[in-house]
């Protein structure tokens, strides 16, 4: 008996801020920034200068705040993000928005590997390319990548949607569960139990919504859909050569 998971269409509430606090990481520690963000209330706004690739920027946000990082972020930018909106005007390191729950994270440049890993909800937009393992173990997050993604992306992806406007690397969607993948360009190879699936009207509609939420103008009809063949859901000795 297998009951499939419904992926809900999410409302990524956009936050409008009135006044912005300016934080310069050249002369104040990351810890102070994060502490201030944890004490913040809805509607507050921060502009972060000189991030210098520092790790754990704007992690653990739990309020409707907006944070704009002007420069490159290191590992785990916007980790475990909730409710607010973080924009990186630069590139992001490993584990961007890992385990994001809600809200929005937008990287204008490229993101390194494991972007949006294990994310449970919210929207992650990467205008450039994403490295390997993008969307690994995703659990409900929506991801839109403007460029290409690396190998082993959406590995063991459980729920949520991954949209790739460029090409996908090897072993896309290996051991995937119920997440849905849309790729506009080529797929180097599909991983175990991941197959191409027909694009029906509801898929074109949800893809159009995701592209619009990411501010993109790509045509949904140009994409192909990939998902689980559901052949590995129950262990069987006859599948032993699939792994």
């Amino acid at each position: 008996m297998v009951t499939l998971i419904e992926t809900q269409t999410q409302d990524y509430a956009t936050v409008t801020a009135e006044v912005s606090t300016r934080t310069d990481l050249a002369d104040s520690p990351v810890r102070d920034l994060n502490q201030a963000l944890h004490n913040a209330t809805d509607g507050q706004s921060w502009t972060v200068e000189n991030p210098g690739g520092k790790h754990s920027l704007a992690v653990g946000i739990n309020a409707g705040v907006t944070v704009t990082i002007n420069g490159h972020a290191g590992y785990y930018a916007a980790g475990m993000h909730q409710k607010g909106e973080v924009t990186v005007n630069g590139n992001a390191g490993v584990g961007l928005a890992e385990n994001i729950m809600s809200g929005k994270v937008h990287v204008k440049g490229d993101a390194s590997q494991s972007a949006a890993a294990t994310g449970h909800g919210g929207l992650v937009v990467i205008d450039g390319n994403a490295g390997a393992r993008c969307g690994i173990s995703m659990k409900g997050v929506d991801i839109v990548v403007g460029g290409n993604i690396g190998h082993m992306s959406a590995f063991m992806a459980q729920a949520g949607r991954l949209v790739v406007c460029g090409d996908a690397g090897d072993a896309l969607g290996d051991s995937i569960y119920e997440a849905r993948i849309y790729v506009k360009g080529t797929v180097a190879s599909l991983g175990a139990d991941c197959v191409e699936k027909p694009m029906r009207a509801e898929h074109l509609a949800e893809l159009a919504g995701l592209l619009a939420a990411a501010g993109r103008t790509d045509n949904p009809a140009d994409f192909k859909r990939y998902g689980s063949a559901r052949n590995l859901y129950h262990f069987s000795v006859h599948n032993s050569t699939s792994y």
Binding site: V2, L4, V30, G60, Y75, V94, M101, A117, H120, F155
Partner: protein, 454 residues
């Protein structure tokens, strides 16, 4: 085979005679359990999956003895003089370390592997004696958060149910790299235990076999781990202690690297440590005994000058207060129990003998936790079976057991003249076997010889 030892004229061998009386020679290589394993594999084509830790006999705490006080050491009066048992865990970096009343903690076990009642009972029992309990693969349930005074939240490769709200509610965070039953292996929960609630917590379809990842999805190696710990500290405002749990395989290096990565506490789990479901071949053949792991971990901490500053929790085969005392004498700051805690709740109780027999097992042998048909109501998601375990009674039984472990350890510590359990030291111990002596790095009893010592 032919029986040749019978004298001529003796009565014919009856099949009804007990096997012990027949003078048969059982093969040490192909013993009955091995024969059953081969026949089961031939019949099913699938490897055996089971719960518990290594069942093979390995050098263990039983192979150590304490040297009580005598001429050169003063004992403490058993019912007069204090022997304290409290322990502080996580004060290296965290601003809110745990302060436990007994060094015996409850190891991580998942809701999913265990019933909600069992998780609640563990929380109740642990809280009653002032110690901690630990979540597992599958997230934090309101039952265990509500009933646990000190709750350690596991951060696992699967990240099932992981969310920052629960992270902030946790009293400590345990980053799990592995466990003693299966260093290098991920979790496993078979479809029969994936109920709607379990599936919902894990964001998986109901009823499918679930294999959780063996590697963390967003970090690789000790340098990344340091950054990951930094992120978790930032999210929790540097308040919450962060443990790193390793399955014992290379504990000297793993402990040193965990400390370098910034752990407040290192948890080392030996191969006798239990699991809810793993391939038997994995449980019995991967990892090292708890006894061999402790001195290696302690050596790493001592060489870094951080023994007692980064606390060491040891698990894997702790059953008695003597085991607690021995682990601590070898340098542990605390221990964790899993299998023993479930036994205290009623696992493998002979009163379920008939039901174990109906499943082809027996009280004392039952380990098919993956099937979810546990008559004791512990390793199941079946509502009828799990209702057999009353969380209040179960919690009281666990609290009783934890008190006994603590008092037994105190008994030994007083006999060794120690006013606190942590004052026990390797010098209080000797080994009964050469193997245990070499592993535990204490002398063979009656000698000053430690094999391998420089």
């Amino acid at each position: 085979m032919t029986i040749t030892s019978l004298t001529p004229g003796a009565p014919a061998v009856s099949a009804a005679r007990p096997v012990e009386e027949l003078g048969l020679r059982e093969s040490a290589t192909f013993d009955r359990a091995t024969i059953a394993d081969i026949q089961r594999a031939a019949a099913t084509g699938v490897y055996d999956i089971r719960g518990w830790g290594a069942k093979r006999k390995v050098p263990h705490f039983d192979d150590l003895l304490f040297l009580g006080a005598s001429m050169s050491r003063y004992p403490l009066e058993g019912y007069r003089e204090r022997c304290d048992t409290d322990v502080v865990l996580g004060d290296r970096y965290a601003s809110r370390p745990l302060h436990l009343q007994t060094p015996v903690t409850i190891a991580g076990m998942s809701f999913g592997a265990l019933s909600a009642n069992a998780k609640e009972a563990l929380g109740r029992g642990a809280s009653e004696v002032g110690t901690s309990t630990t979540t597992g693969d599958g997230g934090m349930t309101p039952e265990e958060r509500g009933q646990s005074k000190h709750l350690v939240y596991q951060y696992l490769p699967s990240r099932y149910g992981m969310n920052p709200d629960d992270l902030r509610k946790a009293d400590a965070i345990e980053i799990v790299l592995g466990q003693g039953a299966k260093p290098g292996g991920g979790g496993m929960l078979l479809g029969q235990k994936i109920t709607e609630r379990v599936a919902g917590m894990r964001t998986l379809p109901v009823g499918i076999d679930q294999r959780s990842a063996s590697r963390h999805p967003d970090w690789t190696g000790p340098d990344d781990l340091e950054i990951k710990i930094g992120e978790l500290r930032e999210i929790t405002d540097w308040k919450t202690p962060i443990y790193v749990k390793i399955g014992a395989s290379r504990p000297y290096y793993d402990t040193a690297l965990a400390v370098k990565a910034g752990a407040d506490v290192v948890v080392v789990d030996g191969m006798q440590g239990g699991t809810a479901a793993t391939q038997q071949v994995f449980i019995e053949n991967v990892g090292i005994p708890t006894l061999a792991a402790i001195p290696q971990a302690v050596q790493a901490l001592q060489e870094l000058g951080l023994h007692r500053k980064v606390q060491l929790i040891v698990s894997g085969g702790i059953r008695t207060g003597a085991d607690v005392a021995k682990a601590m004498a070898l340098g542990a700051d605390a221990v964790a129990i899993g299998t023993a805690a479930l036994i205290a709740l009623g696992d493998n109780d002979p009163r379920y003998a008939a039901e174990y027999a109906a499943m082809g097992s027996a009280a004392g042998f039952y380990d098919d936790f993956q099937d979810g048909r546990d008559p004791a109501g512990i390793t199941t998601q079946d509502p009828d079976l799990s209702s057999r375990l009353d969380p209040i009674t179960g919690g009281r039984r666990l609290a009783n057991y934890l008190r006994v472990l603590t008092m037994e350890a105190q008994t030994i510590a007083r006999a060794c003249g120690k006013s606190h359990l942590r004052n026990l030291e390797p010098e209080d111990l000797v080994a009964l076997t050469i193997e245990a002596s070499a592993m535990a790095r204490v002398p063979l009893a009656g000698t000053s010889w430690i094999p391998g010592a420089k």
